[in-house]
Amino acid sequence: MATKKTSSAKLFSDKTQSIIYGVQTAAIQRMLDFDFVVRRSTPSVVAVVDKTSTGYHKVFFGEKEILLPIYRTIEGAAKKHPEADVLINFASFRQAYVTSMEALQQPSIRTVAIIAEGVPERSARMLRKRALELGKWIIGPATVGGLRAGAFKIGNSGGTIENIIDSKLHRPGSVGFVSKSGGMSNEMFNVIAQNTNGIVEGIAIGGDRFAGSTLIEHLLRFEKDSEIKMMVVLGEVGGTEEYRIADAIKEGRIKKPVVAWVTGTCSEYMPKDLQFGHAGALAEGENETAKAKNKALRDAGAIVPDSFDDYDVKIRETYEALVKKGTIKPAEEPPIPNLPMTYAEARKAHQVRKPANIVCTISNDSGDELTYLGTQISKIIRENYTLGDIIGMLWLRKRLPEWATQFIEKVLIITADHGPCVSGAHNAIVAARAGRDLVSSLASGILTVGPRFGGAIDGAAKHFKAGWENDMKPEVFVEDLNSKGIKIPGIGHLVKSAQNPDMRVELLKKLAKKSFPATECLNFALKVEKVTLQKRNNLILNVDGCIGILMVDLLLGCGFSNEEINTIIDNGTLNGLFLLGRSIGMIGHILDQKRQKSGLYRHPYDDVLFLDDIAEY
């Protein structure tokens, strides 16, 4: 098909700006890094399009960070950024057609690069037709894109910054290069850099059978591009496009030297239907073979090696002849600005260190496998670690002996629930019935845990430990706290009494007496209880007190130092046991209410004494 393109020879300059379809974090950053190295004054990307997000995409432009706006539609982005005339489309093969069509419709967009592989051929052909009608360019599908040395690069073309510099892509040379294969483009940039002063522009049109723009169209563009002095083409078995190049050379529409090679000469030694790497690389007729096409190019006057093996030699000879003729005057190399490393790169290269903001000493998920206190989760499961083991490891940073972990688990079971009337469960129920979700309802219940409800464990542990440590007489201990106006934590119960003991306390005491190496703190507390019971028969050692005191005995038995135990208590660790245990019950009450679909709770009037006629303050 005849080309109707009216646009100028140069698709890209160092002022070219683009819109990217798809939040391609790495590709966008690579484009901007290229911009910095080639000393562009403006970034080559102005906006990003993504169907599902809005806001800004943050990137580095040299040392600075800049924000690229994200739009939901290509139209929206193009309208706001008429200065961008390139759209780089990273949409999947499913979306490539619709999005590329949308891009072509934008008056400000002149070139669309389509990266996706596997775009249906009819879609690709329709896109090409539309582009031709509009006098626009498509590069791809199934390509990495291409670049203009020292000016503009499409997406991931050219590889890493080191490669860009090694292959002299940071400043223009003299060669226009076009290939089908995107994968081979970096290799060819390298070959050209080693044998000439480098490329001016390199385009990979993509490996599909029907590309959005063809080899010959780019060569005709290169012919008009005054910076380009010679051309290198890498064609491929399959299709007949290389004949158009031969025709153009014969007809004098291409006058600059063309060094060409068509790959796939091995196909005559291969099974007939073997599909090579690219979708388009299958000869469907004798004239589509590499051999026939190489011959046609050679006959037309292109410089064609005997094999890829001396492609480099032919490129060098052609270049050197042009230098000799004075057509090419090798220029001095420009200085290359040093691209600042990102922190991640610098770390990888052992070039930087930085104090951490967060130190974690209990678990690690940064390796292959999650660990708790250095033990792999697979070992923990395999060896049947218990919940008590895990609490020891994550709360106390210690593998606890079995008697201790069993006690901790019994504490969790005993504290798990205490009916619907206690303040935590009550609050949780009221919140659940108000239609709140599980987390909110649980939080509502948990927020009642404090010094009067469940929170006495730490206090009891602290005071009774101090009394026992100082060898205080129980009477003195009680008097001392009384005189300070402190209600003894862990002593006293609203319902239970000496005659009606709390079964939970009895169970815990029994278990500790049986399994602990020693229960000295408990023994002291029981002496204190005797004193308080003389005052009133409900001043018994309650469950909070019993847990707190026995936890002191437990920590002592596990070998924690006095200092360590004080820290453990001060940090609220022991209250954590109540919190954890009781959460089980509160979740139960919340689920219970939800299961029943209970309606909003409203406290009955007859349970409130209304005294609104008393005198004001």
């Binding site: 490669n163 970096n186 790497g277 979708a279 890829f308």
Partner: protein, 424 residues
């Protein structure tokens, strides 16, 4: 892959589906695909027309010119057809120089006819090319002058008058001309709607009931369109391999690995006794390595073609390398010459070269003894991210295992290792 031929029975079913949906056919074409799994005894229950006899039986194996090869049974009874099929399903046969099993057949009613027409539609870059001849059949190639051509720009329709003027100019009978024009319009819509890249009906004919029927039909689909053709194509067909394609053990294994990963792993064993083996990264580069071996005159020693790309993980590259090493070290060279393994590739875009070498190195370590026994010489050439580390690892490996490994980077021309190796 992109262009995939399908069996004639499947092609006729898809054509029927489309033409029936368009209201052109009242029912599906009578045609049945038969293979070893078909229960021939109960078949007439589903297809009562079989019992009427007058059947055609042809192999349905993608190859053409079956008439010229005397492989078509014409106008036979169902009893004879059944007998013939039972004797011939799975029969070994050499066709066009390739040996394979005739395991798929097609059974159709025999259509007595006078005229044989030719129709083909083929996708090219800017247009679909329609070709028609009133003198179709097995001698179409000698009637080339009778073939008329019409280009339909992609995405555009055409009217029936243009069609008559351009394609059917040689058809004198006015009623027939109308019929043909109508038929071709509908077949073209099938071509477009079903993402075909080529269709050939040679011949199709005018039956005694004055309807147009394809006698032979060849269809090639664009398999990248599968995602948007689920409703049209259905699930009741597959893309068969060309006749006589038998995957070896190694090829089968790599094809299975390939299907498991998002990366690409390809392997074709060309000559298991060949001395030159390649393990090349990238579709483009792999062809160039094979080219260069052939261009330098060693095509007959080329053992395999293949490529790995798209960032396969360590396990995948290890399995790929193991498969090649296993195949190449199975028997030492008969003349006692060293074998050659080319681990080649261009300058990678973003693949971490050292990482892809990890799996290959694992495999070489594992096959150390076999490598030494078969006197394998290894040549490496690669560039791209972290290539220096990758090349260093390869060099160290050679020294450690006492295996000859020559290592080159991007400063050396990509195919230099081919020439260097062939000097051995």
């Amino acid at each position: 892959m992109a262009h995939r031929a399908i069996r004639e029975a499947d092609a006729k079913r898809l054509l029927s589906r489309s033409l029936k949906a368009q209201g052109f056919f009242k029912e599906y074409l009578r045609s049945i695909g038969v293979d070893a799994s078909t229960d021939l005894e109960t078949l007439p229950r589903s297809y009562p027309w079989l019992a009427g006899g007058h059947l055609v039986v042809k192999p349905d194996m993608l190859f053409g010119k079956r008439g010229k090869k005397n492989m078509v049974q014409l106008d036979i009874s169902w009893t004879d057809a059944k007998k013939f099929l039972k004797a011939n399903i799975g029969k070994k046969e050499k066709v066009d120089g390739k040996e394979g099993k005739l395991d798929h057949w097609i059974v159709e009613p025999f259509v007595p006819h006078k005229e044989e027409f030719y129709l083909s539609i083929r996708a090219s870059n800017g247009s679909d090319t329609l070709m028609f001849s009133p003198m179709g059949g097995i001698n179409i190639e000698s009637n080339k002058d009778s073939v008329k051509t019409m280009e339909v720009p992609v995405g555009e329709g055409f009217d029936v008058e243009t069609l008559k003027e351009k394609l059917l100019v040689g058809v004198k009978d006015k009623v027939l001309k109308e019929h043909l024009a109508d038929f071709i319009m509908h077949v073209n819509k099938f071509f477009v709607d079903y993402d075909l890249v080529s269709l050939e009906m040679n011949p199709f004919t005018y039956t005694q009931e004055k309807t147009l029927r394809p006698l032979d039909l060849r269809v090639v689909l664009d398999d990248t369109a599968a995602f948007q053709q689920q409703a049209n194509w259905g699930k009741d067909f597959s893309f068969p391999e060309a006749f006589g394609t038998v995957k070896g053990k190694e090829e089968q294994y790599i094809a299975e690995l390939d299907a498991k990963t998002g990366a690409s792993l390809k392997l074709k064993i060309l000559n298991p006794e060949g001395r030159i083996w390649t393990m090349v990264a990238g579709g483009g580069a792999s062809v160039i390595y094979a080219d260069t071996i052939a261009d330098l005159g060693h095509a007959d020693e080329m053992a395999n073609y293949g490529e790995y790309s798209g960032n396969p993980n360590r396990e995948m590259t290890r399995e790929y390398a193991r498969t090649i090493l296993e195949a190449m070290t199975r028997n030492p060279d008969k003349k006692g010459r060293p074998k050659i393994l080319l681990i080649g590739g261009g300058v990678a875009n973003f693949t971490d070269v050292a990482k892809t070498f990890d799996g290959i190195i694992d495999a070489i370590r594992e096959y150390k003894t076999a490598i030494q026994k078969s006197k394998v010489k290894i040549f490496v050439r690669r560039g791209g991210p972290n290539y220096k580390e990758g090349l260093r690892m390869m060099r160290n490996l050679g020294e450690e295992l006492k295996i000859p490994i020559e290592v080159y980077g991007p400063e050396t021309h990509m195919t230099y290792i081919v020439r260097k190796a062939l000097e051995q």
